[in-house]
């Protein structure tokens, strides 16, 4: 199992704990992740708002790099990157004019894109390529008694649901259960966290983060598990502002990959857990399980 790894800007910055946990966990499962050489920003939600032609061409550059590197598949852990790369492929397929434009732009620097390299999310890979049985086999420290609210956010199932149900995704639920955690059922698992609005228009954006945290707490979650660096940032980074405006809703938000690492018996500081603001609760007493 070898994948071209597209980290995206956040996984090198605010979301570096995601990368720090995902790499060892995937390696532990025998998944090879090779970082694409000289990848550039996917464009996220901002570039589309300025120029969709350039947004597509720049995103397609990364797809071309993956092809050039001989990767049959690309792994994009960040939700925005995952969406933008998939969306670019859809746009090129659905609109011949867009395809011609991208071909021309990439051609100007000697790149080519055949547009048939699947761009996949780590959850998809874990469930469908690695398999939950293989994950279970690696669990040495089950997350027994830990109540986790799985939070998928927007962009991995919307608008393209390639590996999970659009309205009621379950892949992370299943993964967390395989780690031994107790999964909280809540209706907000795909609701928006506020995205970049928490920074640009906090009165609107923060409210969405607040609602998520409040509901997770109300339903008894010890923590929220996320798949997206921006969601993690929003749900973790603004507690003082949320408290000032509404009420304390101190529930930690961590990456699913960090929980995997813990369940695999890896030390917390090797999984970037020291980088969160709201500290992870201590795990219930370790019950070592024969590996």
């Amino acid at each position: 199992m070898r994948y071209g790894y597209f980290p995206g800007c956040s996984l090198k910055g605010t979301g570096r704990a995601y990368e720090e946990s995902l790499l060892p966990v995937m390696q532990h499962l025998g998944v090879e992740m090779v970082e694409l050489d000289d990848w550039s920003c996917c464009g996220a939600t901002a570039y589309m708002a300025v120029d969709e032609g350039k947004a597509c061409a720049l995103a397609a550059r990364n797809l071309a790099l993956a092809e050039q590197g001989g990767f049959a598949q690309v792994m994009a852990p960040c939700s925005a990157c995952y969406l933008v790369l998939n969306k670019t492929q859809h746009f090129m397929q659905d609109y011949p004019a867009m395809r011609r434009l991208v071909d021309k732009a990439l051609g100007s620097v000697g790149l080519k894109v055949s547009n048939d390299t699947p761009v996949r999310h780590p959850l998809d890979i874990l469930l469908n390529d690695v398999g939950l049985d293989a994950v279970k086999q690696k669990v040495t420290r089950p997350l027994k008694g830990l109540k986790v609210a799985p939070y998928y956010g927007c962009q991995i199932v919307r608008p393209y649901s390639t590996f999970d149900d659009q309205a009621d995704p379950v892949s992370m639920d299943q993964l967390l259960q395989a780690l031994g955690a107790e999964v909280i059922d809540w209706p907000l698992k795909t609701k928006c966290c506020g995205g970049s609005l928490t920074g640009t228009l906090p009165e609107a954006g923060l409210r969405l983060s607040y609602i998520l945290l409040k509901e997770a707490k109300k339903r008894g979650a010890d923590l929220i598990a996320t798949v997206c660096p921006l969601c993690q940032f929003n749900l973790d980074g603004y507690h003082d502002k949320i408290e000032a405006k509404w009420e304390p809703v101190r529930v930690p938000t961590v990456y699913f990959s960090q929980l995997m690492g813990l369940a695999f018996g890896m030390p917390a500081n090797r999984l970037g857990l020291q980088r969160g603001f709201i500290p992870m609760p201590s795990l219930p007493r370790a019950e070592a399980v024969a590996a």
Binding site: C9, K12, G13, T14, R16, D38, W39, S40, C41, G43, A44, T45, A46, Y47, M48, A49, V50, D51, E52, G53, K54, A57, L58, R61, F91, D94, Y95, A97, M98, L101, K104, A105, L106, S108, V109, L111, C154, Q155, R158, P159, Q166, K191, C192, G194, G195, S196, L197, G199, T200, L201, E203, A204, G205, L208, G237, Y238, D240, Q274, R275, F277
Partner: protein, 194 residues
Amino acid sequence: MEIKRTIKYQADRVRGFGREVMSVPGCEKLKDCIQCGTCSGVCPLSIYMDFTPRQVMALTREDFKNEVLASHTIWLCASCYACTVECPREIRITDIMYELKQRAIHEGVYPKRFPIPVLAQEFTTMVRQHGRVSEGLLVTKLYLKTNPIAALGMAKLGMGLMKTGRFSLKQENIKQRADLARIVATVDNESVKA
């Protein structure tokens, strides 16, 4: 009490605007809108909008360009795609919002010091020049350009990020920046919308 004329005359429209938007990839199905309001019903940010997403669809289709491009609605869209997947007419509302944002930026009709369009442009510039986004640098630039005072309120967060090793003012760069520039220049020379 200040009163304002609210009736719309045909001359208030910018004829052809709706048709132009609907000719852009992803925006075609706006033609099929039945004004049911599902988009607004599922939109997490519709509660702050001056026009609901449904109203933006109606105004766009009916050529009310000035009203649409000046609305807050297009900037409040967080790209969560809830409207797009729930629309019973399969209209890609998120993509239409992107298109309207582009036009508003292009025509410079957005509230001054409004951080959202500024962020979009700073982000784009940074990607174009360096190939990657350095979040710390981007956010700092944003606050300086829009609201330096508010930046003070963010200082604590910045410090926290610094402490957890997540904040840096260093600009990340890719190697092939010349390639990037050429790709952008090529797109500039073509026009998808033609």
